[in-house]
């Protein structure tokens, strides 16, 4: 197990190299740099010489490969550099944004689970009944509303009409996180629900369900003890993917609700061409990707004895 985990983490290295390099390259080809960006929206004009001086200061005049390796060298020494825009240490910036993102991730995942699993199971068990159709219809709605629109609706109804949640997040608290979390949970639940339904239907058709019935076991017992547990593998897979995406920050929702998280940071950094932050972000994403994959595999092992005990064929 340990060996396996180490192996997976080692796999991270080439991925990290590839994607940081790519991102560096792309941002570079993307033309304008932070210095040019800084001049935008201000309504004024600065001389080329001043711009060049500013570039030199940031090392932006050097060839792209040099810049990349300088960055890499620093990184290996544990220094992620400073933001070009704010001048603050990238690492500190990053750490300061994490709690918000973590809270949002946790609450929206939790909400998603609370909404989607019971409904998914219900709609599978009541297949082709009114309840099923209703649940599926709701999932269609959830699936076809863009995030930004859902958040507008929520703001309108929950913050203007009934005033139970604040429009803008004032702090990293449960009350503030509610609306962004609901927004994210709506879209995710809609997807999960369908998957849970499909998995449960699949499980329902398996022999062991008939087996339990033939032994006189109550359906609800089978449902909770066997079907749920078996479906959990699917749910975990989805969850892990979502956690990965959420930990990367959700640019749209975060910026609409003024939720000061990693996603908003990334979008701002990209639009400002703040390379050090972008690099840190890209690295973060790659690390999440690999870790999430690892965790998924490990949780399969935990959940499914066939994998844990090496019983699965092939």
């Amino acid at each position: 197990m340990k060996k396996y985990a180490i192996k997976r983490i080692l796999q991270l290295i080439p991925i990290l190299f590839a994607i940081t390099f790519l991102s560096y390259g792309m941002m570079r080809i993307a033309g304008s740099d932070v210095v040019t960006r800084k001049m935008e929206n201000t309504g004024g004009v600065v001389s080329e010489a001043a711009l060049d001086a500013a570039r030199e200061e940031l090392g932006l005049d050097k060839p792209f490969l040099t810049q990349y390796f300088v960055w890499l060298g620093k990184l290996l020494r544990g220094d992620m550099g400073n933001s070009y825009v704010s001048g603050v240490s990238v690492f500190d910036t990053f750490i300061s944004k994490l709690p918000a993102t973590l809270l949002l991730t946790a609450t929206s995942i939790l909400l998603t689970i609370i909404i989607s699993i019971p409904l998914g199971i219900l709609s599978a068990v009541k297949q082709n009944t009114i309840a099923d159709y209703l649940i599926r219809f709701c999932s269609f709605i959830g699936n076809s509303l863009p995030n930004f629109f859902v958040s507008l609706l929520l703001m309108y109804f929950l913050a203007i009409r009934v005033r139970i949640f604040p429009v803008i997040a004032k702090d990293v608290s449960l009350k503030s996180v509610a609306m962004p979390a609901i927004t994210l949970a709506i879209a995710m639940s809609a997807k999960y629900l369908r998957q849970v339904r499909a998995t449960v239907l699949d499980e329902l058709s398996k022999d062991y369900v008939a087996g339990a019935r033939a032994r006189g076991v109550k359906f609800s017992v089978t449902l909770w003890k066997s079907i749920m547990k078996a479906s959990l593998v699917t749910v975990i897979t989805l969850l892990m993917l979502s956690v990965g995406n959420l930990l990367g920050g959700t640019a749209i929702v975060e910026s609409i609700f003024m939720w000061d998280g990693v996603g908003k940071m990334a979008v701002d950094a990209i639009s400002m061409r703040d390379y050090p932050i972008i690099q840190a972000y890209v690295m973060w994403m790659a690390i999440i990707y690999v870790l999430v994959n690892l965790l998924t595999d490990l949780s399969y092992r935990f959940l499914d004895p066939r994998i844990r005990l090496g019983g699965a064929k092939q």
Binding site: I15, I19, S144, F148, F149, A251, I270, A286
Partner: protein, 308 residues
């Protein structure tokens, strides 16, 4: 479960009269079974027709618009829905209905093209990786890892910065981060199919690898890919709308549902039709393609082979 069974099958105990009984005078209990067949084929046809309608709408949108979707008339800006303008008008006084119809082209076509490109490319890669294995497999799978691990947003924004905004570039960005999904599905399907006896039989019949891939593996693995693609049409529409929100989607004044929604979102309270009209269009098409995807899945499910 039992209840459902009972609900479905209406039970009537009927004691047949002696003379009518075929059972030599014995009393036989008869239960009437109410048959509710699920006509998957009919469902498939209905949803396919609806989907085709959408596509036709997209193709002929130019001819179907009651007004020029780009013709402005500032004097009649932001009119509420009326007989003249069933969906009202937008900020520029353009007819919303016409814009929604015309938007079908951009929205449906772009998602179609996107999904077509990623599913075809991903499938080919997955097929080859799964079938040939070896170096090709390792390399392509690492590349797909990188694409998956690469934050899509960074990519989209970089692409937009390199190539400029616009829907084509949003499509490129989404394509790069989405194809690995297909290659993974295709690969795992291919790996499983590779060991099927009929593939072995084909080898014995002297088929070349390419023939086997095209004639046997591809047709048998395309089901899950197709279903994913159908469902992805909805997903991609959402993603494009998200990119539009970030200013990375369609360029003005292009009528595209996602950007119409994001452009009109501040009017949700004041002039709701501006944002609801494209919203409803998105909803309808997402629902149609999702239902089609579900039905295709049911259709391909061997469990349902009897009730087709």
């Amino acid at each position: 479960m039992g209840k459902k069974e009972q609900g479905r099958c209406q039970k009537e105990s009927v004691v047949l009269k002696n003379g009518q009984s075929t059972d030599n005078g014995k009393h036989v209990t008869v239960r009437v079974q109410r048959i509710r067949k699920i006509h998957i084929k009919q469902k498939l046809i209905i949803f396919s027709v609806l989907a085709v309608c959408l596509v036709v709408l997209a193709v002929f949108s130019d001819h179907l618009c009651p007004y020029d979707p780009y013709a402005q008339d500032l004097s009649s800006a932001l009119q509420a829905p009326s007989l003249q303008h069933p969906m009202g008008t937008d900020t520029y006084g353009r007819d919303m209905l016409s814009r929604v119809i015309s938007g079908a082209r951009a929205s449906i076509f772009s998602t179609f093209i996107l999904v077509a490109v990623i599913s075809v490319f991903g499938t080919i890669v997955g097929l080859c990786c799964g079938y040939y294995g070896g170096i090709l497999d390792s390399v392509m799978m690492r590349i797909s890892d990188v694409c998956l691990a690469f934050p899509g947003l960074v990519f989209a924004m970089a692409i937009a910065a390199i190539l400029g905004g616009g829907i084509q570039n949003a499509i490129i960005a989404l394509a790069v981060v989405s194809w690995p999904k297909y290659s993974r599905i295709a690969r795992s399907q291919t790996l499983a199919l590779k060991e099927e006896p009929y593939i072995h039989a084909a080898i014995l019949a002297g088929d070349s690898s390419a023939q086997i891939l095209v004639r046997h593996v591809l047709p048998n693995m395309i089901g899950p890919v197709l279903v994913t693609a159908m469902l992805d049409i909805g997903t991609m529409m959402m993603e494009l709308a998200g990119l539009s929100f970030l200013g990375l989607g369609a360029q003005i004044p292009m009528a595209e549902w996602g950007s119409m929604m994001s452009g009109g979102r501040s009017m949700i309270q004041t002039y709701p039709w501006v944002v609801l009209s494209p919203g409803i269009a998105i909803f309808i098409s997402v629902v149609i393609f999702n239902l089609l995807g579900d039905t295709v899945r049911d259709y391909l499910d061997p469990k349902n082979s009897r009730i087709k």
